[in-house]
Symmetry: C2
Subunit: 137 residues, 2 copies
């Protein structure tokens, strides 16, 4: 009867981040870990830890998802841009509820310290998103 459990701060890279993290890394270096997932007729609710270490979305890249996503910065610092808005600076405790179809990108994450996000994907209809040019469903 054990239940899924863990710690978001565990398993972080220790010491200085690798030099290749500067000045910019691709999204592909981010570490995505699914913590919990519940399927229903209305789509999957998936809770995920994202570990960023200086990554940012390429200039012309936008996520365009068919489901709502709640994001929380647990540790570190980032800048999130929603289409049509200035970048939002996010630090520990900051959260944003990104509605479905609202295009967004990660403009910056701190290259000096790991940034830990908690993301809740609500009503996801597909396997975990993969970076692309707005091709996510």
């Amino acid at each position: 009867m054990s239940v899924p459990a863990g710690n978001l701060l565990a398993g972080l890279p220790s010491g200085a981040l690798p030099a290749r993290s500067l000045p910019a890394r691709s999204l592909l270096d981010e570490i995505f870990t699914t913590l919990a997932e519940t399927a229903s007729l209305s789509g999957t609710v998936r809770i995920e830890r994202i570990l960023s270490t200086g990554q940012a979305s390429p200039d012309s890249f936008w996520y365009d998802q068919g489901w709502d996503e709640f994001v929380l910065v647990v540790q570190g610092a980032a800048r999130l841009q929603l289409e049509g808005e200035a970048e939002r600076a996010l630090g520990p405790g900051d959260w944003v509820m990104i509605p479905a179809r609202r295009r967004h990108r990660v403009a910056w994450t701190d290259p000096a310290v790991p940034t830990i996000w908690l993301a809740v994907h609500i009503g996801e209809k597909q396997p975990p998103e993969t970076p692309g040019q707005g091709e996510d469903q």
Copy 2:
């Protein structure tokens, strides 16, 4: 086109907590704030901040919910008990996915500092739960 956003650490009680918080306070003093809510045919997904300042569930009290609940301790310290288990000590970053119908209680929260939880209720079928003797649907 503004979106729901905020900071989990904002609006905390400052200075020493009131003496009435010692040694135990009822659950009714906890502060529950719904941050985001998405309804679907499969029930509501509701994301909530819970601010505890020494509260604990009464000895014989168990939450018994008809939906999954993901909980994360963002700040502070608590002990969570799932039925049939020893109490789990939780600190910053610790999360637990509590399956529907798994009875659980909050055995302790730190009376000296505010404990901030993020809770994700997945597939909730009713208005926000109210404490009771396992009467939650």
